[in-house]
Subunit: 88 residues, 4 copies
Amino acid sequence: MTDTGIAKDQLKSVIERIEHLEEEKKAIADDVKEIYAEAKANGFDAKILRKVVSLRKIEAAEREEQGAVLDLYLSALGMAPDLFEAAA
Amino acid sequence: MTDTGIAKDQLKSVIERIEHLEEEKKAIADDVKEIYAEAKANGFDAKILRKVVSLRKIEAAEREEQGAVLDLYLSALGMAPDLFEAAA
Amino acid sequence: MTDTGIAKDQLKSVIERIEHLEEEKKAIADDVKEIYAEAKANGFDAKILRKVVSLRKIEAAEREEQGAVLDLYLSALGMAPDLFEAAA
Amino acid sequence: MTDTGIAKDQLKSVIERIEHLEEEKKAIADDVKEIYAEAKANGFDAKILRKVVSLRKIEAAEREEQGAVLDLYLSALGMAPDLFEAAA
DNA sequence: CACTGGAAAATGCCGC
DNA sequence: GCGGCATTTTCCAGTG
């Protein structure tokens, strides 16, 4: 019974931590919505703004991807990728 | 030109604020993942955990919806929902 | 060439079947709209109707989720949920 | 009281008809998913298929739109659009 | 006719 | 690696 008691406490803790984080996430999502609304009020087209953000996200991912490929090449050549990162 | 300069600054600010918030959101999502992984390592079934969390979310949503329907009924009857809220 | 011919026919068939089903779906959606309009004409508040429908949907989802969680618990315990279902 | 009894029956009927139609809609949506899955099993790329379907939908809408503009022109000229439709 | 809210579609994630 | 599921995003209809 002690075990299940401990397990129960652990479970409770896990659930609570998750739900707390999800609330935080939701709060941030609401902040984002607010910014879009505010931008719209300032004459920006929300739809286009969203496109811009998603494009920049894709571009960032691609850069990362390219960086990963470069790292692969470098390590294939026996060179430490870190040397380049450090210089940049 | 000044106008477009201002608009550009505004745009930049909007985009940056959004991207910053989205990073925060992602960080939190990662924290959630971590908790699930940790729970799994402690012998919990992640699938069940997720179902429990989602069930609790639905229950919360139901309570909200019930309140919303009640408010609609009250306002349809010309009664201010606030009167009840205040009393509660 | 025969292959691509077959593939083309298959593709055509797939697209057509999907588009046909989507038309059916749209027709049903229109029927739903009609019912709301008719109900409104009979003095019902469409907004409340929609909320009621959505509340009932959430309630149904909750029941489903509860069953799903139970099934997961049972299978985690190595018990066949079917035994219970069959008895019911 | 008789009135509210009738209203209640009407309400019940409305809700039931809507829920029944939504179930039908869901069944059709499931059929669509099934077709995508089947197509995927036959070597088609589901993502591309979806793009094709949505493009065709947009094109159809545009054609309709253009047709509407044409009709507008024709009626502005005092000509019945139906004459063209019939001939087509 | 702009806005809010809800349905549908697309994407990404987890578990097998 | 794939299928299913949950989340997220997009779109559209209803409302004021």
